[in-house]
């Protein structure tokens, strides 16, 4: 006997395919329409596009429930100077990067300094999705579903000595794979390799992530494949990409942007709306996909998880 089951979804609820295919454009136009109907001074709340899809189910402890930035924006609007300084350059040029085979050198104050094959190093870790806000020091932001594992897992595995106070990481240097590292008309864009670092307690914080990709899969290259750092309460430039070297050190690492302009970029780089960049305000940000700026949150909205690490630190001086 044929048992007829009622359809789960009424046909009236199915989104017209044409509209579905054009959903990005729809959202884009819709958010501009919000602006056109202005009047509503939605400064702080930011104007979220109408038609926002309900947040994904089962958010983890650290996930934000804000609307996730579309994948094409996450992978098409990047700062990754190793592939060029324009936002579109990484997506256009990063195909030359070979994320496998990949080795990571581990040295410094650590029980077992060695050079590891990446898969041997991280193969045992369970990968998870983490939906984080990402705030660029330039004044724009996204909500990115990262795919990776906590840096703490890796540190525990590597077993640093108690004398290690900082962790320092370096990006690959290879002008064949990274054309932006070649000498240009005005010399080198930055002093390669790109260097970043964290205090050990920051590195061990459960928010700190080593990402192997976005949107639940590995890659793409322009987002820092095969492995990169994600520190959601700090400006995006702390997230060193395509890492080939991890060192445990005693002295505070001299990170690349601090080298480039120490009056503009510091070591800590905590997102802080009250401490402006010398050339622009950090009080507001433009969320990619929105028109008007929204208020920037202290520690990018992660105060409850990170503020306790900085109680003794003058955040104005240690920007």
């Amino acid at each position: 006997m044929l048992i007829k089951r009622p359809a789960d979804i009424k046909s009236s609820e199915i989104t017209d395919e044409k509209l579905y295919r054009n959903r990005r454009q729809f959202l884009k136009t819709a958010s501009w329409a919000t602006l056109a109907s202005a009047g509503a001074a939605v400064m702080g709340s930011g104007c979220t596009a109408p038609g926002t899809v309900a947040a994904a189910p089962q958010l983890g402890e650290f996930d934000t429930d804000e609307e996730i930035t579309p994948e094409d924006a996450v992978t098409g609007y990047n700062n990754f100077y190793e592939f060029g300084t324009a936002k579109e350059d990484p997506a256009r040029n990063a195909h030359t990067l070979r994320p496998r085979p990949w080795t990571v050198e581990v040295d410094g104050l650590v029980a077992n300094p060695a050079t590891y094959d990446l898969d041997d190093l991280i193969g045992g870790f369970a990968l998870e999705d983490r939906i984080y806000r990402m705030r660029c020091v330039e004044g724009w932001s996204m909500v990115i579903p990262w795919y990776g594992f906590p840096l703490a897992d890796l540190i525990n595995k590597l077993d640093p000595l108690p004398s290690a106070r900082y962790i320092r990481m370096e990006t690959l240097v290879d002008t064949e794979q990274m054309p932006g590292q070649r000498r240009g008309l005005f010399g080198y864009v930055l002093d390669w390799p790109y260097v970043e670092g964290l205090r050990m307690d920051e590195a061990m914080n459960p928010l700190t992530l080593m990402a192997v990709g976005v949107y639940g899969k590995e890659g793409p290259n322009q987002n820092g494949a095969p492995i990169r750092l994600v520190v959601p309460w700090k400006y995006g430039f702390k997230g060193v990409k395509s890492i080939v070297k991890i060192s445990f050190v005693e002295d505070q690492p001299f990170n690349t942007w601090q080298q480039q302009a120490s009056n503009e970029y510091g070591f800590y780089a905590n997102v802080n709306p009250n401490v402006d960049h010398p050339r622009w305000s950090q009080g507001r940000e433009r969320r990619i996909g929105e028109v008007l700026r929204r208020e920037t949150l202290m520690f990018n909205g992660y105060t409850e998880h990170v503020a306790q690490m900085y109680t003794d630190l003058d955040l104005r001086r240690n920007y």
């Binding site: 454009q25 098409g76 936002k87 005005f186 480039q260 305000s281």
Partner: protein, 206 residues
């Protein structure tokens, strides 16, 4: 039709319309989805770049006129200058609208505090009296000499505008450097005309 009337009734209106072209082009790129994922920034940058381009084009009129011997070119100078102002107004409006939502307190807090905005604002404010006094009536009212002196301010405006562009970047980039180069060439010609007129006489046609 005489050459003069042809220039006045055909060429000039055509150039006038062409000068608006960046706007429909921008609109086209917006609706065709050709802009980046930060379209507000693209629109801000595009209008700002066009303001600078028209300023430089305005400065290019007299050297090009001398080199080519195309004397009527001077008839286009005011128009180009006003288009520079037009795009600067668009640029500034977008800044106070989409970046600050007309929060003028925030705007005026921003201006003195950030060198690159100070420079941009200076470039813009200087253009206001130049645009206002661009009519024949004002030339007569001020007298040719005084009018010319006032309009020398365009050099300050261009320098401030180029600095504004240079200071936005986190590293030295090619695009703003091109504007510095163009400005240097235009100024170089003027210096040469002043101090080595004999050399300039060799390349000019009048």
């Amino acid at each position: 039709m005489s050459r003069t009337r042809f220039l006045k009734w055909v060429v000039k209106p055509t150039v006038f319309l062409l000068c608006f072209l960046p706007l429909p082009l921008l609109a086209w790129n917006f609706f065709a989805g050709n802009l980046s994922f930060n379209p507000v920034e693209d629109i801000t940058h595009t209008t700002g770049r066009w303001a600078l381009r028209f300023l430089l084009a305005t400065l290019a009129i007299s050297p090009v006129r001398r080199i080519t011997g195309f004397k009527e070119l001077i008839r286009f100078r005011r128009m180009l200058g006003l288009f520079a102002f037009f795009y600067a107004v668009a640029h500034f409006t977008i800044y106070i609208w989409l970046d600050h939502f007309f929060d003028m307190v925030a705007v005026f807090a921003d201006i003195p505090e950030r060198p690159f905005i100070t420079a941009g604002f200076t470039a813009f404010v200087i253009m206001i009296p130049l645009a206002v006094t661009s009519t024949k009536k004002w030339i007569v009212r001020l007298g040719g000499r005084r009018w010319r002196l006032i309009h020398q301010l365009i050099y300050v405006s261009v320098i401030a505008g180029v600095l504004h562009y240079l200071w936005i970047g986190k590293v030295i980039e090619l695009a703003p450097a091109g504007y510095v180069g163009s400005f240097a060439i235009l100024m170089g010609f003027r210096l040469l005309a002043r101090f080595r007129p004999d050399l300039v006489a060799r390349i000019v046609r009048n």
